[in-house]
């Protein structure tokens, strides 16, 4: 009888240890996922650096040079995700999807790095230099 109780005690301790280990692992995995979440896909980063894709005025990504099915798929995928984010945030901010997307476009163009492409107010693709980009007159400073 005693041994059974002791056995239970051992089991409880073991279960608690396992639970702690599992919680720790979950936290570590969450942390790893968090860092991975904030980075661009290497293919996307490469397409930006090489000027194959650029930031459009409307807040979405555009294809600058010759389109390939692979590139189109990547751009579509990113734009669908952007649209979902804009829609959610616009609702919270009591704005329309277009208003929010245009604002994000202003900021995304302002944050392009030299060498990356962006769309100027006349609709043409421009390469970002160290100088400020040509933006819509309504864009915030």
């Amino acid at each position: 009888m005693e041994s059974v109780v002791k056995g239970f005690g051992m089991n409880r301790k073991f279960v608690r240890k396992m639970a702690l280990a599992a919680a720790g692992f979950a936290l570590a995995a969450g942390g790893l996922a968090g860092t991975a979440y904030a980075q661009r896909d290497p293919a996307y980063e490469a397409a930006r650096e090489s000027g194959k894709v650029g930031e459009k005025m409307d807040g979405y990504l555009g294809i600058v040079t010759a389109s390939t099915p692979e590139l189109q798929r990547m751009v579509n995928d990113i734009n669908i995700k952007r649209r979902a984010v804009y829609a959610q945030k616009a609702q919270t901010a009591n704005a329309t999807l277009e208003e929010y997307a245009l604002t994000a476009g202003c900021i995304a163009i302002a944050r392009t790095k030299p060498g990356e492409k962006y769309q100027a107010p006349d609709g043409s693709w421009q390469t970002r230099t160290s100088a400020p980009p040509q933006r819509d007159s309504r864009c915030p400073a």
Binding site: D58, Y86, A95, E98, Y100, C106, I107, A108, C139
Partner: protein, 69 residues
């Protein structure tokens, strides 16, 4: 005597059913999905003050979703 009493009752009882049926039918006739997408160009109407109000929020959104920006 009994038959004449049940007939109106039955009619009254079935009245909501008939009305529900009519409402459903009316709904079927009047509600029609548009066959063409409705496109409204809002870009021109977006004002600078709206963009200024949203700027900080949009900047944070870009940072929070850095993998797609």
């Amino acid at each position: 005597m009994q038959g004449s009493a049940t007939a109106p009752k039955r009619a009254i009882r079935s009245l909501p059913l008939v009305m529900a049926g009519l409402v459903t039918l009316a709904g079927c006739i009047s509600v029609e999905a548009p066959d063409k997408p409705i496109v409204i160009e809002l870009n021109i109407n977006i004002r600078q003050e709206v963009i200024y109000r949203l700027a900080e929020d949009a900047g944070n959104t870009i940072e929070e979703n850095a993998e797609i920006f």
